[in-house]
Amino acid sequence: MKKFLIVALLLGVLLVGSAFAIRTITITAWTIGPDIPSVNRFNNLTAAASRLNLMLKTVGSDIRVKVKGFFDTVNWNDYLKKVVFGLQSGQPVDILCTGHDLIAGWAEAGYLIPLDKYIKEYWNSTYSAIIPSLWNAMKYKGKTYGIPQDTEARPVFVNKIALRKLGWTESQIDSLPQKVYDGQFTLSDLIQLAKEAQSKGYVEWGFYHRPVVGVDFFELLNDYGVKFYDPQQQKFIFSKSGMKKVLTFFYDLTNVWKITPTTLIGSPWNSVHKEVTAGKVFAFMGGTWNWAEWQKVWHKTNKELKNMFLPIPLPAVKKGGKPVTLSHPFAYMITKNSKHPEIAALIITLATAPDLNFKHDVASGHLPVAYTEMGYPEYTKNYIMVQGTKMLPFTSFVPNSPDFGYTTQYNAILFNAISAVESGESVDSAEEQMLSRLEGLYPGRVIVEK
């Protein structure tokens, strides 16, 4: 009898205990920088979970949410492999945070779930404030698969110290961006200045671009008005005359004007940043996030950077034309493997709170995705953010198609052609190789134009 009473008592305690037990739901998020200052892409999700838990506690719920996962700073390919094989092997991944250009390929492969119903649900509270054009970058075949997390512009950072040495006054320097926006200062004007600064010994090199494959090079295609993809037909366009102009620009950089070293392509990023931040380069095609990188990794102060660099969009090719820049918005996505898509959507929504997103933007040199973020006094004080936002009307995105993004080969083919001409191969030969490679890889899907 005594034993029975003890067992009954223990069971009773267990039952009462379990009635008050807290149930924890784990949301797994796999995010990437790869730039280190973008760590808040992950941290904001954990902050969102804390806010959600506070709400749940306040209303007396027995559910708590925990966010686990990682923020990848290694490289794109490693992250993509983790995602592709992780999802296929049934890993319980709920949230991904990566570039918008992966949406099409991943949505087509069935990795992602559409988020339209969640966007509708939280439209008034959160998503109505998102800059409308960003939603276009989140869509594939009429459905929305991403929530904008950040965006950026890719300015050309002009060396102000060299401009001063060239005799430019502060007011002339300050008025340069407007001249670029008005189309009065062209790409060839920039090149002329770069040549002059280099020949007079004010800088070691006139013009730098990224040393590895990436979407930045599409800026030149856009600047020269070269259409390279038809999203309706899902076919590549190869404009022989247009591509010739673009490749000639890169050929001239190293072989004619000699303002870019032939060794730039293939150099480690660290070498590039070291030389740019040391003022050895006149113009560098970078991104707004470099501003944060240069502060965090290269220990430059905001004051030093403002004194050294003038961010402008890539000037128009023709006088009176429009300058260009390129944005590569990041997005939160929910995977097909998520067992709690509603909670994942709620976490993303809370992580899209203007204060959290703004914290990320400031720390990483990215631009706001919501108008509500622009209301912060810190926004107007943040030089690169304000300058970057001014460039957004001139921005374009990578096409939303499975043919683009890090998983596809167009970037690599274009980059190879650029590498070839910069190392001295003729434009005609590089163009021919590029076309033959495209046609070989995408038979029947390349429209060749004169």
Binding site: G110, T262, T263, G266, S271, K274, E275, T408, S419, R437
Partner: protein, 300 residues
């Protein structure tokens, strides 16, 4: 069945029982990937991981792929230069030299040459990247500038050389160890007799050492050829096949196709070609390595 028969039967199956874990591992990690690769190569499997059979399409696309001739050229240059200069040539030289000096110093130099092999691949690759960084921040260019010499850009002008050296410094140590052990196993009387006859070092090497380690030389040649055909990790880290595919080899291109571009079907077809080349090369080597004949190799 009596006890004796049971024991006999157990003894008979004991080798198989002992070998079972190894057989399972070989089946799992060596045989099954090949078995899976065969049907995979007849599909256009991509990101969706769907088995859509396309017949011989992937194999037909290989000769149509404009990069293939360059990949084949690079592969042969990479494999045979690394093999001849380092994995075989340097290995023979090192083993001969380190066994010609005292054991203490011989062991010291062999240990030095083992360092690249025991260094993690990524660290080793990054060291090469830093040494040959074409900007002024590279170690080589820092040293050259201290000596008042112009900067060198090996990365762009001789990328294949960089790859061959990086792989060769690792590869040479394997042959060096095998050859050194083989040389040390040669009865010392042969050398003493030759020295009494007044034979010089080169003649001793040519007439005694090399004939007696012939089997090892052939084995390393075969092993390293096959190994180099499938190796790409240092190329991936140092140049990733660039610049402009100038260091891209068949194994790396296969890897990039499957795991960077996620074209698993085409990647599988490319890897099957490599398996075919490996099998043919392996058979040729087996046919030409006559273990039994090496015992009679000494002709003094």
């Amino acid at each position: 069945m009596d006890k004796k028969t049971k024991l006999k039967s157990f003894n008979k199956s004991l080798p198989w029982i002992l070998l079972l874990p190894l057989i399972a591992l070989v089946l799992m990690f060596y045989i099954s990937p090949i078995v899976i690769t065969v049907p995979l190569s007849f599909t256009n499997m991509g990101l969706s991981f769907k088995w859509m059979f396309v017949g011989l399409e992937n194999f037909r696309n290989i000769p149509r792929d404009p990069i293939i001739p360059q990949i084949i050229r690079n592969t042969f240059v990479y494999v045979f230069t690394t093999l001849i200069v380092f994995n075989f040539g340097m290995a023979v030289l090192l083993s001969l030299l380190t066994t010609s000096i005292s054991d203490k110093w011989g062991g010291f130099f062999r240990t030095l040459w083992m360092l690249p092999r025991i260094t993690p691949s990524v660290v080793y690759g990054l060291l090469w990247l830093w040494i040959f960084d074409p900007s002024k921040n590279g170690l080589l260019n820092i040293i050259l500038s201290l000596l008042g010499m112009p900067s060198q850009d090996v990365f762009h002008h001789n990328p294949m050389l960089l790859i061959v050296f990086a792989n060769g410094f690792v590869g040479a140590s394997m042959g060096m160890m095998i050859f050194s052990a083989a040389i040390k196993a040669i009865p010392v009387e042969y050398y003493r007799a030759a020295m009494v006859d007044g034979v010089g070092w080169f003649t001793i090497v040519r007439k005694i050492t090399l004939p007696l380690i012939r089997w090892h030389l052939l084995f390393i040649t075969a092993y390293e050829t096959l190994s180099l055909f499938t190796s790409y990790q240092y190329i991936l880290i140092i140049t990733n096949g660039g610049p402009i595919n100038r260091t891209n080899v068949w194994a790396l291109y296969t890897y990039q196709t499957a795991f960077s571009n996620f074209k698993f079907g085409y990647g599988a077809a490319l890897s099957l070609v490599l398996v075919g080349v490996g099998v043919i090369a392996g058979l040729l080597y087996i046919r030409n390595i006559h273990i039994e004949s090496t015992s009679n190799a000494l002709e003094i």
